[in-house]
Symmetry: C2
Subunit: 384 residues, 2 copies
């Protein structure tokens, strides 16, 4: 699936979903950042709706479950309630959050959900541009033109609860034989840039005693950092995924190395304590080079607690699915909704934990189980 945010391909996918929605008599609306809502009315028209959904955009050459599963599972629930003749007090809405996939068409992720809960971010998000220089403002304008039947919806309209179904994008459910993950939160993250500075020199002539070899120093730092982050409990997520060498020539002692650290953990205190040691560990292994560790960004830990995850857990166990509580390693739109309403997520297994990849896979039985649990939860919350 190659369905980048606000593209014709995403508009076609939205249109297909709208066709199904209109066939059921549901109404739909689009807001200023391109979020779409499909509404099944409740008995109390004044009550704030329960929202469920995720996103329809994908990473470049991504998988066919990430995001879209949560949208289709929620839509399937609406149809199932119709078929079963179940009325709810609150309206239930399928939410399609816009432009969730960061580092894709746009660098920024979760633009739709962020702007929905904080309309003050709209203008800055509208100024983001893609690689062709197309701003979000222009992309949304063109996108809306392809969906002219949709009335405008206000940002930040009240929501009673939000539940997001999603593939786990990690291997834990499959490895432990669980079908349903009750997501307890989204782990905190700290992102760092490490810059190692030595001296470029001739590889054939410069004696060891006179070298300031930035790759040698960086390798020692990376090895020491990985040793420090060794974790037999398998919880730490510590990744050095990007590394650049200057001048990067075989016959030149490397003068500079830059590398990133992506460090995530469910315990904020651990993130703080360990992350604050990175500069000292790098200094210790810098040899004749110098090194500077800079925190680029910190993402706070988000917890999903109380009614929503408890309702998910009860429904899943009552239906007989093997169920576990699980922290999300990846970010999701639910991170932002959690700031404005009781929120939870339902994870289903994905094969080997592989995601953002064409081989992303999930079984029909597991996907159906997630939708089944979601139906129970939406009904319970929509009656509240």
């Amino acid at each position: 699936v190659h369905r980048l945010a606000y593209t014709d391909v995403e508009a076609e996918a939205r249109r297909l979903l709208l066709d199904w929605a209109y066939a059921r008599g549901y109404t739909a609306a689009l807001d200023d950042i391109g979020n779409m809502f499909i509404r099944r009315p409740g008995g109390d028209a004044a009550a704030a709706p329960v929202l469920s959904g995720s996103h329809m955009d994908s990473q470049p050459k991504g998988g066919k479950y990430d995001g879209i599963y949560g949208v289709l599972a929620a839509f399937e629930v609406l149809e199932a309630l119709d078929d079963a003749g179940i009325r709810t007090k609150r309206p239930i809405e399928v939410a399609v959050w816009a432009a969730e996939e960061g580092g894709s068409r746009y660098l920024q992720g979760c633009m739709g959900s962020q702007v929905y809960v904080d309309p003050g971010k709209l203008e800055s998000m509208q100024r983001n541009v893609d690689a062709q220089g197309v701003s979000v403002a222009d992309a949304v304008r063109a996108f809306r033109a392809k969906l002219p039947d949709l009335p405008k919806r206000a940002l930040n309209a009240p929501v009673s609860h939000f539940i997001e179904g999603h593939i786990e994008q990690g291997p834990i459910l499959q490895a432990t034989g669980n079908t349903i993950g009750v997501v307890t939160g989204i782990q905190g993250a700290r992102y760092f840039q490490v810059d190692v500075v030595g001296d470029a020199a001739h590889a054939g002539t410069t004696p060891p005693s006179q070298r300031k070899d930035a790759v040698k120093a960086a390798a020692a730092m990376i090895t020491a950092l990985h040793q420090m982050m060794q974790d037999d409990s398998d919880v730490v997520r510590f990744t050095i995924g990007h590394l650049d060498v200057t001048p990067n020539a075989m016959a030149v002692v490397p003068g500079q190395v830059g590398f990133t650290i992506d460090f995530r953990h469910p315990d904020e205190a651990f993130l703080t304590r360990m992350g604050d040691l990175f500069q000292a560990v790098c200094d210790e292994h810098a040899g004749p080079c110098s090194v500077k560790v800079t925190q680029v960004r910190r993402g706070a830990l988000i917890k999903f607690e109380g009614l929503v995850p408890d309702t998910i857990h009860d429904a899943s166990t009552r239906l007989g699915y093997r169920t576990m509580r699980i922290m999300s390693g990846a970010g999701h739109d639910a991170r932002y909704l959690a700031g404005v309403c009781p929120t939870g997520m339902i994870f289903v297994p994905c094969d080997k934990g592989i995601s953002h990849n064409e081989v992303e896979a999930a079984t029909p039985a597991d996907l159906a189980a997630g939708a089944r649990v979601l139906a129970e939860v939406l009904v319970a919350l929509a009656q509240s």
Copy 2:
């Protein structure tokens, strides 16, 4: 200096040197690969000439001493012999070897000296192309058109001796307070490509136990290799200068790393013994990844022994210069001439050992000392 091989800029430099040569009544010739020879006749016209020189091409944005110093020092000797009224038995020729700088306009280095000593290489060298697709054959044709006054000279004409003056391109003479380096040879070298293969995975979700992190593995290998190559005698030249990560994204566990090894040493047995251990050391630190070490190229150790270096040493000490024997870390045209005649090199200090760089520097006094020694050596050999 930005004087790439066979360019108009190099043709202009050759023309300037030719003007000076004609003013002294010397003759000149050009061979099929673009080497140029300026001849001061000797008493015995049938005797093979003593050659001295180096190259006039430079690295991109290179220094103003590398190569050209050896050419101008040799030319200065011819003029000094005229001025002093000294006749020699053998002719003395200034040799300007073509296209010495590899990894520059052409990837291949020392094309002129290689073809001179082995004309069988001419056709394959002529097929080399630069980044614009210009073959060496076409470049030499255009180059010759700018020097139409030069008669053609045969490749592989007999040479009695070859002496190359050059800046050290390393820091040893300066660091030890020596003025003249009597080069004992060009160290051997082995070049390797190391490919580490793991699995790309989501940095936020993949537990440590399920990762195959190619950067983590490569860092452990690099650290272990550097530890193994630790050398308190300061002789080993071990460099990991080029490293590429795939996909090289902050939030992705890196799936592949490729890096190079540039390993040089004056002892062939050491090169063999240690280089043959690289695969085992990398295997030992591969963790869950796999690794393949491939030797890309091996350059044999070249020794300069006997008459030429001994004559250099005697002349330098007799003139009162602080003199040391020194192995060349870098390759030079003398490597190839050594295959066909007694050969030696004279090194003079360059500041901090920096070369292939605009800040490359040498003092007038040191450069003059090298030329002074060269004069003594050329006279001695040309009388033999």
